[in-house]
Amino acid sequence: MSIRLIILLIVLSIIFAINIFHNIFKRKISLQYSLMWFVYVILIIIVLMSLPILNYITKFFGFELTSNMVFFFGFIILLIISFTLTKIISTLKEKVTILTQEVAILKKEINNYDKNN
């Protein structure tokens, strides 16, 4: 894996990390969910910076190219993250359903109350 590619990936990762920080400070994403992205970026940077280990792991698992291995692990982590997101969405959907139902029933009760007074 060429040094140039490694530097490119590291630079991209750092820009991404800055973007995450920016969003956290602007309170656009909650700290809870930013953490997994942050771990992702750090992992990628650590992997990229340790070239000898990188080459060793590549040979050990039998990847043709070091870059393949980096992308492979990036892909796996992304899979985990998107699955986590699906889980979060499912919980949110359930909560929204419950809230919608309760609000609708409450709305009805308030209307009835207004009519009776």
Partner: protein, 238 residues
């Protein structure tokens, strides 16, 4: 005894009034207090206006939840208002409400869930299309394998349940295509389920929620839901 008819309505402006009129014609014992509640599931047509104008008893969901979420709202309402029996009836006149007293009788006879069925007798001339019947038979077979109980009309949305199940449904109800799913859950819990022949009419207005390619997706999804319900529902200790 208080009985509630839950009528989920999504864009049913053409039929909702006649459904309510038919409900008012139902003759029941004096000991039974029969109420209805329309659940307007975020309709985009005039369903809400019609409910308001005609002073129908209705709950207006602020956004569309899908049939399961709408029906569950009804069960929650029934639970909070302490109803003894809750019915689920479509808002498009497919279900002939004159069978309501028969279903009430069946609940009072000790059944937990009573399903109004198209297939257990020749009463209903409308039995839906051939392909749909094949699908329903397949699901029925799958449920038989899972629960060892034969139910014919597994997708029927014409059903009544008692107080125990009102409470259960109020807090556990699937959002998509809930009928077969809940059926398996209820049987697995060791509740008594009974089918009663009813007449169903072909829908005159509105569209079925299941069409074309969607039906294959529906079959896969529902089969999946049945198997999951089968595995994850634990039998209740009596």
């Amino acid at each position: 005894m208080k009985v509630l008819l839950i009528i989920p309505a999504y864009n049913e402006e053409k039929s909702i009034l006649s459904v309510i009129e038919n409900i008012k014609k139902i003759k029941v014992d004096e000991s039974i207090k029969l109420d209805y509640v329309v659940i307007n599931d975020g309709s985009t047509d005039k369903t809400k206006e019609i409910c308001l104008e005609n002073k129908l008893n209705f709950i207006d969901l602020p956004c569309n939840l899908g049939i399961g979420g709408a029906v569950q709202t009804g069960y929650k309402y029934a639970y909070y208002k302490d109803y003894d029996i809750a019915f689920q009836i479509d808002g498009d006149n497919q279900h002939d409400v004159s069978y309501v007293p028969k279903l009430i009788e069946a609940i009072n006879a000790g059944n937990d869930l009573v399903i109004g069925s198209r297939f257990v007798s020749e009463l209903s001339e409308f039995k839906s299309s051939f392909l749909r019947r094949v699908g329903i038979n397949l699901l029925s077979f799958l449920i038989k394998v899972c629960t060892h109980q034969k139910v014919y009309d597994v997708t029927s949305g014409y059903r009544a349940c008692n107080k125990t199940l009102i409470k259960y449904f109020a807090f556990n109800y699937p959002i998509d295509y809930p009928e077969p799913d809940t059926l398996v859950q209820v049987i697995k819990k060791g509740k008594k389920v009974m089918e009663i022949p009813v007449k169903m009419n072909e829908r005159k207005t509105g569209k079925s929620s299941i069409n074309g390619l969607k039906s294959i997706y529906y079959m896969i999804k529902v089969s999946f839901a049945i198997i999951i319900a089968d595995i994850s529902t634990k039998k209740e200790n009596k």
